[in-house]
Amino acid sequence: MSDLQFEISQRPDFAILTVDLEQGQRIFAEPSAMAAMDPTITLKAGFKGGLKKTLGRALGGESLIINTFTADRGPGEVVFAPGAPGDAIHYELDRNTLYIQRGAFMCHSDGVELTGKWQGAKGFFSGKGLVLLKASGEGDIFFNSYGAILEIDVEDEYIVDTGYVVAFEDTLHYDVTTVPGMKVGGKLKTFFFGGEGLVVRFSGQGRVWVQTRAVNPFLTWVFPYRPQPSNN
């Protein structure tokens, strides 16, 4: 079991993560994720895990730099805030792997390795980037959603729109495909004009985290209300 003390509050709309570090304990976070911290904590910015892993993270939509927060001068707390309004989730890695959608990573403890996983055509056609973030090892990882979050325990098969997938366990097989029953014309439209109607079909046994809002539909909704430049 993890010995990391933490609390996620203000859920689910504007969740914030407070981590209590013991003397000498460390946590690794995305730059700009830190909202507040005790003066006993020191911050060191730098690359982590060598060139390949650093590039993998970068391709997965995260920063090249990882900030390391260490309770050098005594125990203390660090508060992390995700960029998007929404929930934050804790997951304990137990010698397994978790795949996280680009941009959803917040922070992780010692023992976790974060890199990218090339997903080629799956990523290309999903419109969500060619590389997924891959967290593996033994330790704690925190990720965030846009909106609230549903935890789905898949037993056989499950389908989620590509825009709503936040993370999933490595025991699940996944394919990016069109919505079942879509006509050929619709599939071609999806293929050439990107994204709409594309889903991830999970199969096997494992957990999927699904967010209750997606960015693109929100932008489509807000677009008609944008301010218009005036000629006057």
Binding site: D94, R95, T171, L172, Q205, R207
Partner: protein
Amino acid sequence: MFDDDFLDGEFEGGVFSKDIDGGRAGASIRMDDLGLIALLSDGEQFFLSYSECNLEIGGASGRMVFCRNDDRSLTIFCEDKKFTAALERASGGELLERLEEINATGRRRSLAGQFGFWGFLVGCALLLVGGWYGILWGARAAVPHVPFTVDQQLGEAVYEQALDEVAQMTGEEKVTLIEDDAVRLPLQKLVDDLAVHSRMPQVKFQVLVCDTEIPNAVALPGGRMIVFRGLIDLVETPEELLAVLAHEMSHVTLRHHLQSIGESIGVIVALDILVGDVGGLVALGAEALRAAALMSKSREHEHEADLEGVRMLHKAGIDPAHAIGMLESLPHGDIPDALDWLSSHPDIEERVAAIRKLVDELPPRAYSPLDFDLEGLRAAMRNRVVPAEDAPENKDGDRKKVNAADAKPENEKREEALAK
């Protein structure tokens, strides 16, 4: 963690069971004669006998092996590449049939993955190549529908910049145009006489001569042409001079500048569609547009201009073989940077071969020598009247009109050296 009685070592994996808090845990997996044993980090053990083991393959990697009991209440899984071979040995052939099936599935998925990967790369390459040729085709198809006044306006817009570029070639602050009619008018007549044989005889060419020792000539969109003094010094016959001018005129009548701009715009639009935000690239694109408008130097455009120039010479009754002579007489290989007309035209042997082929295919006709006084033109350049502002100051600080030989003795020396 395990006793030494176990077979084939230990594998990292996991367990699904309702008896575990959260339903899942990582585990160390070993095999004995009867079945699989998974040991959790808290010491809890799970056992699954080979006789009730149902095998599946899956997971995000497509290579994870799941061993489940019949009611799926316990699953032990592992992704280690050596796991299936160890399972085959440990189970004594009990799982052989099913293991062969999942190994075959694994190989199929691996092949499909590789096929998908290479297919994806090939697809992207085809898309890029197809897109590129589509853009070229689109630019060419669109140009005839654009009125020629656009070329003229474009030429007007880039004229000052073109003069700056010419000045930069020699490191001068400003290019000196030779406005003496004795120099300019014979060249203008030469071009006008040839223009009637171009594919756009209505185009009015305007010849400008610049006092630059580089052997070069530049055509701007719309019909303005800048002939460098160095070119007039370099050519051996008037026909060679006309061959170069015909080539440059062809860039104008074939509207290569507009085609290049269309291609540049097409590339920017394609990048915008593919990449999304190309803010930085747009600035780059604007630079490319400017460069394309000034210098239309694509390999294909050069070949087209060569062949069109040859046709014009043929129609005008001038032996087009002079174009070959001009190209072949120029120094190959290590060309000084200053010889811009050459350095931007690298594939001379290929061009000569294409011209020669066209010359052979042209209907035979009698050619006559070009009636043009090249030596007279050179003399006019040497003795031209230099405007007062370009003349050197006398000892009283005044300027007076002098001839070029007096005004620019250094240039004269260079001319003589080049002529030799």
